[in-house]
C-alpha cells in the first residue's frame, strides 16, 4: 500500500494571519482549496497542510480542539540545504513563531525547529542520506 498524497489538517484561530505567515515563510497557497474557513499551503505537489478555523475543524471530529496546552503531533519537513532550513526558520521567527531549540548538526542531518503562530510544532531538516552512518 502506498499513498499518493497527504493533507495534514491543523486547527488555527485566524485564517488570514495563518495565510500571511506561511506565505512569508516562503510557501505557495492552493487558492482552489482555500477560503475564509481554510487555507491550503502547498509544501510540494503531493504534500499539503490544510489550516482550518477551529470552528470548521471541529465539525470533522467529535473530540474538542486542544487549547494549545498539549501536543498530539509534530511535523518534520525536509528541505534541500542547510541554508534553506535556516531561511525557513528565520522567516518563521521573524513573523511571530518562536525557535523551539537550537539547531542541531549531526553531519548527515541538520535540524532546526520552530513553533508556528498557532502553537503547532515544526522540525525543519536537511538530510544527506549518502552521509548517514550505518548505525544512526
Amino acid at each position: 500500500m502506498k499513498v499518493n498524497q497527504i493533507y495534514v489538517n491543523l486547527p488555527v484561530k485566524d485564517i488570514q494571519k495563518t495565510k500571511e505567515f506561511w506565505t512569508n515563510v516562503g510557501f505557495s497557497i492552493n487558492e482552489q482549496f482555500s477560503d475564509d474557513k481554510a487555507v491550503c499551503v502547498v509544501l510540494n505537489d503531493t504534500i499539503y497542510v490544510m489550516f482550518l478555523t477551529e470552528e470548521y475543524f471541529q465539525t470533522f471530529s467529535e473530540r474538542p480542539v486542544p487549547k494549545g496546552d498539549t501536543t498530539q503531533v509534530l511535523v518534520a519537513i525536509g528541505l534541500n540545504s542547510r541554508e534553506e532550513v535556516d531561511q525557513v526558520v528565520n522567516a518563521a521567527v521573524a513573523n511571530g513563531a518562536y525557535q523551539h531549540e537550537e539547531p542541531q548538526d549531526y553531519g548527515w542531518m541538520y535540524q532546526n525547529s520552530f513553533w508556528d503562530i498557532n502553537g503547532h510544532g515544526w522540525n525543519v531538516t536537511f538530510a544527506d542520506m549518502s552521509q548517514m552512518p550505518s548505525q544512526p
Partner: protein
Amino acid sequence: MEINQIYVNLPVKDVQKTREFWTKLGFSINEQFSDEKAICVIMKQDHIYTMFLKEEFFQTFTDRPVAKGDTTQTLLAIGVNSREEVDQMLKTATENGGSKYSELRDYGWMYQKTFADLDGHQWEVLFSDMSQLPAEF
C-alpha cells in the same frame, strides 16, 4: 519553497502493536529508522513517512504534555488510488482495532472514509479524481 519529504510524528502507547497494525494495513516499515522506541511507516517511498513514537520518547521533543486522546490536534488525510483501496483500508483498520469515526463522504470527485487508529489518531482515507473536481469547489 518546496519540501522534499515529510515525517508526521505521532505518539503511541505500544510500538509493537502499532507496527502490526500498520503492517496489516499494507504499509512497509523503514527498519533503519525503527527501534523499540519508534517505528517509521513508509507511506510513499522517499517522500511521505509517519513516525510513531512511544509517548515517553515523543515527550522529549515537546515542552507540552502529550495529549491524552481526548482532544484532536490533527486530522491526517491520505490519498490512495481507488475507491476499492479506501474500502479495503477501512475494513482492515476496523478489523484490527481501529474504529470508524464518521460516515462515508462521497462527493463524486472525492470518496472518503475515516478511521481512528489504535491510539485514536484520526485518518481520512480518500480517493480523489481531480479531473472531476467541479469548477465551483
